[in-house]
Symmetry: C2
Subunit: 351 residues, 2 copies
């Protein structure tokens, strides 16, 4: 099969981890006789520096015409504490999500048997955790009207949701639930927010189309608690953009290492695959970042293309590297560790 994949390395450790995913994908392509055509493009601070724009039109063209997008990370600390910065790398991310229509961010959370004791949570609380958070990604307070009034002394942001936005996300949630243990939890703040009440109303109206799915409704504050108390209590969670931003990061702690958690952002045309970790600027250029989350994101890419065997092959080799301790320093427990590029080479050569 021929695959056009847009390659957005981004900032910080992005380029380094992306390089390893490319090696692994190329090895998979060779083994299964596919032809991957990589289309590199600029995003984030890197794109601001080069062309003054974090998500340039040329990048969008490349992504929109690709079969999928593989993405590293964006963000640079020099923008974070500067409230006056006019162009921010994150704007590129948001523009990309919106222009590509990536309405659902899919974040699986699971544990690796060999790493379970790295979690800050006790083993018995997390062993066997297997949940998916579906975060709405192109609406809500991320894209509502915002601004200043009153000489800049008042600032506002608007959380807006339309019924169809909730429906298409919830539909994905119900579909995932049907393929899994048929439990769906809608997380909101319906005791305060009108938009959350629309979420509840909309999901409730869809329940009849999925009579086998058991649906629950919980408040975001309660879930922020329960997710760490008893993550095994959840299967599929659907939630709004901002709530999902918070919950998915919180959930990533369960696994013990952010360096392992992949994600996809699904659109109606093209989908994007990225590690959930950020650009981790302190580690940039040092060849020490953990590439596994990006590699596992590539596995999600193959999975979504119905190339299940290829996806499994990637997961197998990742598990092998964990089992044999061929890992970067964050996972090495002070023992022998390998460079980012060495781990990438090892994974590719084991395929």
């Amino acid at each position: 099969m021929k695959l056009n994949i847009a390659l957005l390395a981004g900032d910080g450790i992005g380029p380094e981890v992306i390089d390893q995913a490319v090696k692994v994908c190329d090895a998979v392509a060779k083994k299964y006789d596919h032809n991957i055509i990589w289309k590199p493009a600029l995003t984030g601070a890197a794109a601001i520096d080069a062309v003054g724009e974090p998500y340039p039109d040329e990048t969008h063209e490349i992504c929109a015409n690709a079969d999928a997008v593989l993405f590293g990370a964006i963000g640079h600390p020099r923008f974070d504490n500067d409230p006056s910065a006019k162009v921010r790398p994150e704007q590129g991310l948001l523009k990309m999500r919106q222009k590509l229509g990536l309405f659902a961010n899919v974040r699986p959370t699971f544990t690796f048997p060999s790493l379970i004791d790295k979690s800050p949570l006790k083993r018995e609380r997390i062993e066997g955790t297997d949940l998916i958070i579906l975060r709405e990604l192109t609406g809500g307070i991320y894209f509502g009207e915002r601004g200043r009034k009153d000489d800049g002394n008042t600032a506002f942001d608007t959380m807006t949701y339309q019924r169809f936005e909730i429906e298409r996300l919830a539909k994905k949630g119900f579909e995932f639930a049907m393929k899994r243990s048929k439990k769906l939890c809608c997380v909101d703040k319906a005791n305060v927010l009108e938009s959350s009440r629309l979420w509840r109303e909309t999901v409730q109206a869809m329940e009849k189309d999925y009579p086998e799915v058991e649906v629950s409704y919980e408040f975001i504050d309660a879930v922020a608690m329960r997710l760490i108390q008893w993550p095994k209590g959840y299967d599929v969670i659907i939630t709004a953009n901002l709530f999902g931003d918070i919950l998915t990061d919180e959930a990533s702690v369960i696994a013990g290492s952010m360096g392992l958690m992949p994600s996809s952002s699904v659109g109606s045309k093209v989908s994007l695959y990225e590690p959930i970790h950020g650009s981790y600027p302190q580690a940039a250029g040092k060849d020490i970042a953990n590439p596994l989350a990006t590699v596992l994101s590539a596995a999600m890419l193959f999975e979504d293309m119905n190339m299940t065997e290829e996806a499994e092959e990637i997961r197998r080799v990742v598990n092998k590297s964990l089992a044999e301790g061929y890992v970067t320093e964050d996972l090495a427990d002070g023992g022998k560790s390998y460079k980012t590029s060495e781990v990438g080479d090892w994974l590719a050569s084991n395929i």
Copy 2:
């Protein structure tokens, strides 16, 4: 000293836990020769049932004229999944916060040596945790404009902040930091939200007035993670209403039992003291709820009245009950446990 305390038992287990706090306060008053005049008043579902309003004017009068308010919990499940309910118990809570001007919710998070192993988090991660979250409580998306458009198919909520709202909350944060380890963390989502950028700008401008305080700025998603990874990294956190709602509940998991965590909501005139747990309807009327969070909230009340010895006495007796295992079933580890009212009696008689 004479103290007028408004007593708002509320819903669910509220009345039961409040009863125990009253016993303890009365015992303290007797020992230290104070005169507490309790002024009971209706709130929540209980008030809706009685007078059709979750925070009736008479209740407000009583609170506004009291020296302090002691509060149980409100909320009833019959309202939760009914998006069409016109009057909700929670509206009473919000109205109360607004009308009494309770702009800062103060939530300490700490561990009890005897309970540390009840936490889902590993001992070494949490031992010695001692942080305070200051949540803005009368602004933000809780009180902005909200509504429906487009035949009910679009819903919106507005997160609004004015500079003075941020300043008065931040001032409390700086003051707490000065009395503690001089570290303040402002938590926001300034990479997306305009209101968060106003938060950052405002707090940054105040830094010069507190040269000894080391201020950091972190994103809510990152803090949702770090708070469980390494809670000892935080001292005083200041944050907006919605973010605080989520973070304070999340932080409560650290201590291992929500049944232990007190809080205060500070206004310019009167302040309110309440356990952070909810109304826990399943346990209502069974005399099994843990009263310690409410009792410790009463300790915060005495502390704020500069009655430090009285506050210490309450904390001492609570620690004693924990050490001697005179506790409710949630803390009994399957061993001998006591009724809510028995724990209250025991505490009072040990003062």
